[in-house]
């Protein structure tokens, strides 16, 4: 069964605005990751956040994790047209050990 689920399914914003995507999951995790996928390409790892961390930053990206609510958010600040992509959260599925289960993704469109 699916572990992580992103929300919204699609998001359209203007360049310069902030974009927030959310991920909810069902069972306890060790860590959660966010990935980006440009159209027709492989996924690129953005950030990993462990269950004992609450917030991580990487450039214009900010990820939060609330294990009590079983949710995470990805914030992209000052968005650019090049940020247009699909964004996925992935959680480790304990029955698979080091495997990660991906949500269906949020499709972000940044309009110039």
């Amino acid at each position: 069964s699916q572990q992580g689920e992103e929300d919204p399914q699609a998001l359209s914003i203007q360049e310069g605005e902030n974009a927030t995507m959310n991920c909810s999951y069902k069972t306890s995790i060790n860590n959660l990751q966010w990935y980006r996928q440009n159209s027709g390409r492989g996924l690129v790892h953005l950030i990993l956040i462990r269950s004992n961390e609450r917030e991580k930053h990487s450039g214009r990206l900010r990820v939060t994790l609330d294990t009590s609510k079983k949710s995470s958010s990805l914030l992209i600040t000052a968005s650019r047209a090049a940020d247009t992509a699909s964004y996925f959260c992935a959680t480790d599925a304990k029955n698979y050990g080091q495997n990660f289960v991906f949500g269906p993704g949020t499709r972000l469109s940044v309009l110039p």
């Binding site: 790892h45 996925f88 050990g97 080091q98 991906f102």
Partner: protein, 111 residues
């Protein structure tokens, strides 16, 4: 720059053919994975491997097999290709529970 290389970007095969998708990583990663990605269904795990000659079934192994004879290479085999196996196939590798490094994907069409 570390890499996961998938042998083909686009592939067209006929129904019933045996199809080999190759994946090679140069990072000395223990773990390797094969996913397929379909619109509306996200990424689904087909097979994975934590070591040479080791393989484990993922969520949707039916119609597929894998081979890992060397640490750097993980092959996905479609024993008898069918039209419902038309999809984007993504290979990934990882070290322990760190982030995955993905290949660029192979878009397979079975006609």
């Amino acid at each position: 720059d570390v890499k996961v290389t998938q042998s083909s970007r686009y592939l067209v095969k006929r129904t019933g053919e045996k199809v080999f998708l190759e994946c090679v990583q140069d990072m000395d990663h223990e773990n390797m994975f094969w996913y397929r990605q379909d619109p509306g269904l996200g990424l689904r795990l087909i097979y994975f491997s934590y070591d040479v000659k080791m393989k484990e079934k993922g969520d949707i192994p039916e119609g597929y097999s894998v081979s890992r004879e060397k640490k750097e290479r993980f092959s996905l085999i479609l024993e008898s290709a069918s039209t419902n196996q038309t999809s984007m196939y993504l290979c990934a590798s990882s070290l322990y529970d760190y982030g995955y490094t993905f290949g660029s994907g192979t878009r397979l069409t079975v006609v």
